[in-house]
Homo-oligomer: 173 residues x 2
């Protein structure tokens, strides 16, 4: 799929068919994620692939009971390895770079999923401690996104985007 088409036609998908997502597909989208740039090429990202129904249920609950999450055939939980960024960049590494680096990787992942005709949704609202407990995530590693993935059972419509006029300044704010 053309890059501009992928960027402009990707949508958040929250309803999935029951069809499975293969291990190869999951590997292909995580492979795309890891090509994101990162500060100092630190690559402070970890991906936890969840298919177990009980764990999926716990993730749904941790995500403020957004029940569509556990209905996805697979969920990828993306984590920022704060320790890895901290060693090189201290506080700015923990609070900024490892959040940015993982977010860039997530965007690659979402675009790749869309190009493979999969649907996904970037979920950011969740209880981090509950996710940590559900997946045995150690301290120093922070869950930053829950991404349910499946085959879209809906065709999402148009989405409102702010105009260039509103978001672009020249030379000065």
């Amino acid at each position: 799929m053309d890059i501009f088409k992928a960027i402009k036609t990707r949508r958040s998908i929250r309803v999935f068919t029951k069809e499975e997502v293969s291990e190869e597909e999951i590997e292909e989208i995580i492979d795309a994620a890891r090509w994101a740039p990162s500060a100092g090429n630190i690559q402070p990202w970890i991906f936890i692939v969840v298919r177990d129904p009980k764990r999926k249920e716990r993730l749904s609950k941790a995500a403020l009971n957004q029940l569509f999450i556990e209905k996805a055939p697979v969920i990828i939980v993306v984590c920022a390895d704060q320790e890895r960024s901290k060693k090189v960049y201290g506080r700015r590494g923990v609070n900024l770079y490892c959040i940015q680096d993982t977010a860039a990787a997530i965007q690659n992942l979402l675009l790749a999923a869309h190009a493979l005709r999969l649907g996904a949704c970037w979920v950011g609202a969740f209880d981090e401690e509950a996710v940590r407990r559900a997946l045995n995530i150690p301290s120093g590693v922070r869950p930053v996104a829950i991404i349910p993935i499946g085959r879209p059972a809906v065709k999402p419509g148009a989405v409102f985007k702010r105009s260039l006029n509103e978001i672009v300044h020249y030379e000065s704010f």
Copy 2:
């Protein structure tokens, strides 16, 4: 350009030819940026396009004297509109979502630039207050990236990426 090719062949470019980058090209890559997802579709991003040599010099200096920055024909400074995210999501909006949302937009921007055969580099190490002063950025808006853009004057080589084995876990950390 195919999405997977764009993701895997994009590199950080720090040496540029003197050739100009047109306004249309800049608009096309910012247009791609604004299609990124964002928490609650808040779109807390602002792009400041800088071509003035004096301002470019100030940005280079603010970025710890990385002098390649001012040599780019154009620089885009990406800002996170913290106030916009705070209104809806409070502290999590300021510290997490608006950083993630702008990072996803930046990744789109870098992929789009690459697809247009432009070169760019995501610079994160800079004195935020100095950037703020150089571009009159008000409080409540945070500069999160400086992105010099031009035509690549170098062909970058391979880049080390961590293997899937190292970054993927199944079911649990």
